[in-house]
């Protein structure tokens, strides 16, 4: 377990000297800030704003679709390309510790970015009488964190498969996109359609957690998908030993 922490904290610190991480953070804040400010701006010109703390959450979820592959793409692919993965694997570290550590580092970094987005609902709360519905806000953010953990785990898994970070980026993006839109197949009523619908990342998020309902099946779904991606990732790293 100590190894996980060492790898995670090293990765976490690594982000703060990575230009990609700064670009991701800056663009997230710029886009969200713009959207938030436009809403406020229209409010002073007479139109009503919804007293809803989730004002930037919808756009944020969409940005994360692109941001998470960018954040995870180099985690293992880079090590592989530079040949440092062999060093890492020969060190007294288990394969799963490498994967979980890398994922945890990325998760920590993204949590820092997400934490600062509380500014927007905080401002809105100050402007609202008697304040926004904070229960919904907590549930929606909890869902966002779960969604983020799943997306990052998938990103780490894909990064473990490739030598080239760009390839990892696009493949992870494609997989997340498929998990994104598979929900629209779920608009039918057949069994296949229901399965497709229940696989969708965004539908799982928006249907309950986003509305203020913490639903055990949804939480389990995100946790399971995270575990599954991390287990698959460790198997792939392990396969480097015997392939």
């Amino acid at each position: 377990m100590r190894n996980v922490w060492i790898i995670a904290s090293r990765e976490f610190r690594q982000y703060f000297i990575s230009p990609v991480a700064y670009a991701v953070a800056a663009s997230i804040y710029l886009i969200l800030g713009g959207i938030f400010f436009i809403n406020i701006y229209f409010a002073i010109r007479g139109s009503q704003i919804d007293p809803d703390g989730r004002i930037v959450l919808g756009p944020l979820v969409t940005i994360l679709l692109f941001a998470t592959p960018a954040v995870t793409m180099r985690l293992l692919a880079e090590e592989h390309r530079m040949g440092t993965l062999e060093l890492l694997l020969t060190a007294p570290v288990r394969d799963w510790e490498v994967i979980v550590g890398k994922w945890l580092g990325a998760f920590g970094f993204m949590l820092v970015i997400v934490a600062f987005t509380w500014v927007y609902p905080y401002i809105l709360n100050r402007m609202t009488d008697p304040g926004i519905d904070q229960g919904i806000l907590v549930s929606a953010y909890l869902g966002l964190v779960l969604l983020l953990s799943t997306m990052l785990a998938i990103g780490v898994l894909i990064s473990a498969m490739f030598k080239n970070p760009m390839a990892a980026f696009f493949v992870a993006l494609a997989i997340l996109l498929v998990l994104w839109i598979v929900g629209s197949l779920g608009s039918g009523a057949g069994v296949g359609s229901q399965i497709a619908g229940s696989l969708s990342l965004v539908d799982r998020y928006y249907n309950n957690l986003y509305r203020g309902i913490i639903s055990l099946p949804d939480v389990l779904y995100f946790v399971s998908l995270t575990i599954l991606a991390l287990v698959f990732g460790s198997q792939i790293v392990e396969s480097r030993r015997w392939r």
Binding site: G34, T128, S139
Partner: protein, 519 residues
């Protein structure tokens, strides 16, 4: 040995042929979706190809099966499969009995105590079937948390499913689904359709289905009333189906033949008689109401010729219930057709409370005057109101002969006009609803905006079925965002647009600078 080595070279070729055959077969099957001759031949070819590959070079297969890669590979595969299996089972179990916590401050997704009591008392398994086309997917997602709550609190007695009425017309017809987005509450053989699935409606349906009793609505016949069996635009078959889907039994009655309204009548409908009812018929209706019944009257503007004789039914409604059907034709310039009254607002009443912002349209209607009565036991409510751009045209001759529509301030009543009104008598607890129009409920108009709903709601109310249960009302916190001052806006701009993204860029530059210095 030479021979074997030569043959071995063809093994990859055989595998490739097998794979090509397999891919081709799959493509053919995806397009055709039939297990036809080509699919069978293709499958045979792929099996032959792989088998040939194995036979041509058996050593390679043996090496792959017992080799180191296979051993580790199958190990990794089994671990992944085991984790996947465990997680799939855990998810499936959780999915079957969803547990959820409602974090909203107003507890808007938590069921009321009345619903929980109803769910506890369920004696038979219940299935809620929501009929939604993909077009209504957002309403379907909207109602899903409520249904999850029902399912999770029912102790396994209640399940729900969604059906696409276009994909499955048999189920749609079986449960008499008439509009997209309705829900059938199915208990054993019985079912009831709820057109706007909400907690109140679903729980109400559950209670009605748990206490099945005959609910019979009689339509008066004998004076050329609207026909519940006529499927043309003038007929009332849609109304009949809508009522039957709510487990009402529909029958006709002629008070000319038998002056007594049957005891099992929960309501009587008088739908636009073309000639006036007789004194005796109106007397029978009055006696029925005195015993606590429900009456729905749908009238129409009278043709200018038979103005002189008083209509006993209209006299009865005016004297007993204080609802006077005025001799006019509602003209409304808010509607696309000036001779159709468009409801812009509703009175506060159980009938209209369920209209959910749906308007309704009344082609050729007369207006109703709600009069003050001396009898304190009668309470009246105006249900349907037109807007300011309407008036009650009294000069019907001018309209008919010269096609003129002029507002005459002396004779014509200015809008808002009342197009429908309800009244109840507290001594007999009888209920009356009067509409100045009968076309709005005919097949041609039944599905126009809220037309069908307001009439079905009226019948529910008149027959005393509307609030078998009143749920504990949920408080809904009113939140208001006050527009920020110019300074605050500036501060927000500074923080959200400049400081936050700029701070990140600044930190990035600083890091870059620091690292460059070190190098």
């Amino acid at each position: 040995m030479e021979m074997r080595a030569d043959l071995r070279r063809f093994a990859p070729l055989a595998y490739a042929a097998g794979l090509v055959a397999m891919a081709g077969t799959a493509a053919w099957w995806i397009v055709g979706r039939q297990f036809d001759l080509y699919v069978r031949v293709g499958l045979a070819l792929s099996i032959l190809g792989v088998a040939a590959g194995v036979l041509l070079d058996p050593d390679r297969v043996r090496r792959a099966l017992v080799g180191r890669q296979m051993r580790y590979g199958s190990n990794a595969f089994l671990v992944s499969l085991a984790v996947f299996g465990i997680l799939a089972v855990v998810n499936y179990v959780a999915f079957q009995s969803p547990t959820q916590w409602d974090l909203t401050e107003d507890k808007q997704y938590t069921l009321t105590p009345e619903t929980l009591l109803t769910l506890e008392g369920l004696a038979q398994p219940v299935v809620l079937k929501g009929f939604y086309t993909p077009d209504r997917a957002s309403s379907r997602d909207e109602v899903r948390p409520l249904l999850d709550a029902y399912q999770s609190r029912s102790d396994g007695m209640l399940t729900y499913e969604f059906v696409d009425p276009i994909e499955n017309p048999v189920a749609r017809d079986q449960y008499r689904i008439m509009t997209d987005g309705s829900m059938a509450v199915v208990v054993g053989e019985a079912s009831e359709v709820v057109s706007f699935p909400s907690e109140e409606e679903i729980t109400g349906a559950l209670i009605r289905l748990a206490n099945p009793e005959k609910r019979k609505i009689y339509f008066l016949v004998g004076e050329g009333e609207r026909d519940t069996g006529a499927a043309d635009d003038q007929g009332y078959t849609y109304l009949k189906s809508a009522l039957e889907s709510k487990n009402y039994e529909i029958a006709t009655i002629s008070l000319l033949l038998d002056p007594d309204v049957p005891d099992d009548a929960v309501a009587v409908v008088v739908a636009a008689p073309t000639s006036p009812l007789s004194e005796d018929e109106v007397k029978s209706l009055g006696e029925y109401l005195a015993g606590g019944g429900g009456l729905i009257v749908l009238d129409d503007p009278t043709a200018p010729t038979d103005e002189d004789k008083p209509d006993p039914l209209r006299v009865y409604l005016e004297t007993k219930w204080g609802l006077r059907l005025e001799e006019n034709l509602v003209v409304d310039f808010a509607s696309t057709v000036p001779l159709a009254g468009l409801s812009t607002s509703y009175g506060d009443h159980p009938i209209t409370a369920r209209m959910r912002n749906l308007g309704s349209i009344y082609p050729s209607s007369r207006s109703i005057e709600v009069m003050t009565l001396d009898d304190p036991s009668i309470t009246q409510t105006s249900l349907v109101l037109t807007g300011d751009r309407s008036w009650g045209e009294t000069d019907l001759a001018a309209l008919q002969d010269r096609n003129e529509l002029n507002f005459d301030a002396e004779a014509d009543k200015k809008g808002p006009l009342v197009l429908a009104a309800a009244a109840t008598d507290s001594t007999s607890s009888s209920r009356v609803v009067v509409f100045g129009d009968s076309d709005f409920a005919a097949n041609g108009y039944f599905f126009q905006i809220g037309n069908g709903d307001i009439l079905v709601n009226s019948l529910d109310w008149a027959s005393g079925q509307e609030n078998l249960i009143s749920l504990t009302p949920k408080t809904s916190t009113q939140r208001f965002v006050s527009p920020p001052s110019t300074q605050t806006t500036g501060l927000i701009f500074l923080l959200t647009i400049i400081l936050m993204p700029g701070g990140v860029v600044g930190l990035g530059l600083l890091t870059w600078w620091g690292r460059r210095q070190r190098v």
